[in-house]
Symmetry: C2
Subunit: 258 residues, 2 copies
Amino acid sequence: MRAFYPLVLASQVAVVLVLILAGYWTGHYLGGFAWDGSAKEFNLHPLLMILGLVFFYGDAILMFRIFRKENKTVVKVIHMLMQSIAIICGIIALKAVFRFHNKAGIPNMYTLHSWVGLPVFVLFCLQYIGGFVSFFFPKLNETRRAAVLPYHKFFGVTLLGLVCVTALTGINNKLFFAMPGGEGKDKYSSLPSQAYVGNFLGLAIVIYAVFVGFLVTFDEYKREQEAPNPEKLPLTTAEMKQFQTMDPADPSAGEEAK
Amino acid sequence: MRAFYPLVLASQVAVVLVLILAGYWTGHYLGGFAWDGSAKEFNLHPLLMILGLVFFYGDAILMFRIFRKENKTVVKVIHMLMQSIAIICGIIALKAVFRFHNKAGIPNMYTLHSWVGLPVFVLFCLQYIGGFVSFFFPKLNETRRAAVLPYHKFFGVTLLGLVCVTALTGINNKLFFAMPGGEGKDKYSSLPSQAYVGNFLGLAIVIYAVFVGFLVTFDEYKREQEAPNPEKLPLTTAEMKQFQTMDPADPSAGEEAK
């Protein structure tokens, strides 16, 4: 448990920085927000994607660590609600960029950002549905939940990594569009203040994701097992049978799925 | 062990596709290679970075799974040699881009790609040095090796993810530079053939990294334990002491570090 709270604090400092930089960039440098198909509507795209798919998504995963000593059902509900907010942010953000493109006559889906981003969002929705059905309602039986859990965890963390890839390519695109080349002193390559804001935003997203990834995958920080004491169980109870067939390499598998 | 070989095969198909697309893009669309400070020298940057930091790095990690039944010392040497090639590719690739920028009067280190990429390469070198010193020469004692291993693994996989982030922002940059906007039919947004090659290259890198990540982090595919049978060991041997102090949540920690 060394360094757990400092690492959680560091992750939250990073994500607060992410949100401030995202708000400052889109609200100030890119010109603010509207819902009229203009570039101001586009600005909702990076802001809401970062709010939903970086902050709410990342912190929804972290809930299982931050509250790893609390009632697990409560944490699951919080996790699910935060992922729901993430999806809603993502849908509005997608709507905003397609409306902007269509009104401005800009083709959709030509950039690498869009080629990676749309599949990532679809996979995120599938992961949400899979998680909901498996762990919430109608909820699989205990054995199947335990079997599904490692996949849910792997794809959860992997998708957070893919969110980073998508976010950084998107920020990259917009920095080039917003600060085109040429001779002006506001071009990207002369590093005006917007370049610093955008570059630090990208870096902060990466740093946040690395902290979240570490906290949720490192064995040391896992929820403490509430395993029934096998010495005290009759050999015929369901708990004991599960314990007997458990993979010795991963004694937590049976526990964490509850 | 379900699906192990199909997944390894899929990862290798993905990375062969990565190498073909990288070679075709830089060799054909971007104009080929030279060592004269020109744009042809720049082309060595994406090609060697992808060869070294995607292919050799990713496959070096995979060696521990592909040969997980072979002698571990041999696999460690192969892993270390492949990472050495990765570093050499990276150094030449960095030299190429700085030489190109300097000769063409293009500022260095202004893009998000460079802000993420240079720290990632420095971290990769530190990880290499740390791995070499801990597991190869002078090599830590068994307890310390076991303590260092989970960090080496976490940062290894995380850096592969960061390599993806860096690679995709870099491909993104070059696609915009190589197919600038305007009215021509060769602009990026009209999806000429180069856009498909570049976008598929980015996607293939992401898919490869996800396969590698899955194969090396999923418990099911881990090297089989060669644990000494504790029933047969006297309580005073070093092996038994290590076994007694082992974290029950991760019985593999003591084994994998050998």
